[in-house]
Amino acid sequence: MLLLIAGTMSVLFVRNLFVATMLLGIVSFTMALIFISLDAVDVAFTEAAVGAGISTVLYIGTLALVGSQEKDQLKFAPGPMVICLAVGAVLYYATYEMPRFGEANNPVHTHVAPRYINDSPTEIGVPNMVTSVLASYRGYDTFGETTVIFAAGIGVLLILRQRRRRKNEDDETDVPLDKGKTGQSGSLSGLGSQHDLIPHVIAKLLIPFIFVFALYVQFHGDYGPGGGFQAGVIFAAGIILYALVFSLDYARSVVSEKAILFLISAGVLLYGGVGVVSMMLGGNFLDYNVLASDPVAGQHLGILLVELGVGITVTAAMLAIFYAFVGRADLIAAKAEQEEN
């Protein structure tokens, strides 16, 4: 806990954005460990994969594009400080009204949670309650969240992949990136050099295991910690590793951008499709009981399909975001070269 506070303080004061990003990764990872000690294994899993993994990659991708030094003077801002302290004081005061930490009869634990805990093993037949609540009881929420990820993936693509307009580009609108910060010629796709033998060999060994692990997390999510969200992120991480160590072109030849666009929507459609099918079979939207002859088997099938949909969308969205960032760097590099010639 104290490590956490120290970490966040140094994130605040450090000047170099690259260092700040690394510290943010460390904070995320520490937080994941704390989640484990608080019994939230699924959440810890997600935090470690997303917070410490993918988000660090994204921040570094951004820093490669925008440069990593913050402006020099470190000034004290009295206004925000006063507001922060006020908010903190109010919250601190409010904690005295909070139920005590970890007691079993807190209001949080007496509302719907006992029903989930007591009935889900018999109703859903899935040992991992987090999965059963996620995919079945709160299926609508999860559907909405999958759609948010879908929308964000599409949004990033729209913002970053937009082709340059040809009309009057004056000096201010286009600043070529500083060379050296983004690798040899500002291009990120040339990252994988032929001479880096060790990363190549290690990555070749690791990537199959990453994929197998992702599939395990995907389909074993009913029984242990894991599920579509985590598996999607791990799968995407495997492909991103491939793209980083070899080159983006190779990765593109494995999973092309068109395929990503197709997959990103296929996942959402699969999720929605399960809902529609259950409706056609006479149940409510996303009511899996009717999917098979026996309600428990139906629930099982429904959760499996829905998690698969989530996994596909998350993988595709993360890859779309990554491709968009790297592709942007290429675009700028090509442009800078054109201007030189």
């Binding site: 806990m1 956490l4 506070i5 605040l12 954005l17 943010l24 904070v27 995320s28 937080m31 989640f35 608080l38 019994d39 939230a40 294994v41 699924d42 997303v50 988000s55 921040y59 951004t62 925008v66 913050e70 402006k71 000034k75 801002a77 925000p80 400080m81 922060c84 908010v87 903190g88 601190y92 909070m98 005590r100 930490f101 970890g102 007691e103 079993a104 949080v108 634990h109 949670a113 989930y116 805990i117 040992p127 309650m129 609540v133 996620l134 948010v148 964000a152 990033v156 970053l160 609108t173 600043v175 029984y223 242990g224 910690p225 599920g227 969200f229 992120v233 993360m318 975001i321 960032f325």
Partner: protein, 121 residues
Amino acid sequence: MSFGFFNYWVFIILLMIGLYTVMSRSNLVKKMIGLSLFQISVFLFYISMGKVSGGTAPIVVDGPLDTAAPIYSNPLPHVLILTAIVVGIATTALGLSLVVRIRESFGTIDEEEILEMKDGA
């Protein structure tokens, strides 16, 4: 008063640092980092609420050791935060991509410099 609120206090401190980072730093990437810190602190708050002392992870165990039914932590906050993390990274990515675009059209990611540029133009 005692150790019972410790997690909540850590949450408050993290939240304050995140909020201060967002408000006081003019660098846009730093602002996004502050926003992430803020998010993480809220995650900690929810998960702390879901914890039951002496409980275990909410995965059903059936073994011969059932002297008493095992106590499970509350699965509901876990579900909410699990999805919130993934949605959080998606929105962060969207924000960062906007930062990249801003840098391209203004040549800086410093908020104050952008404002000056607007005034000067």
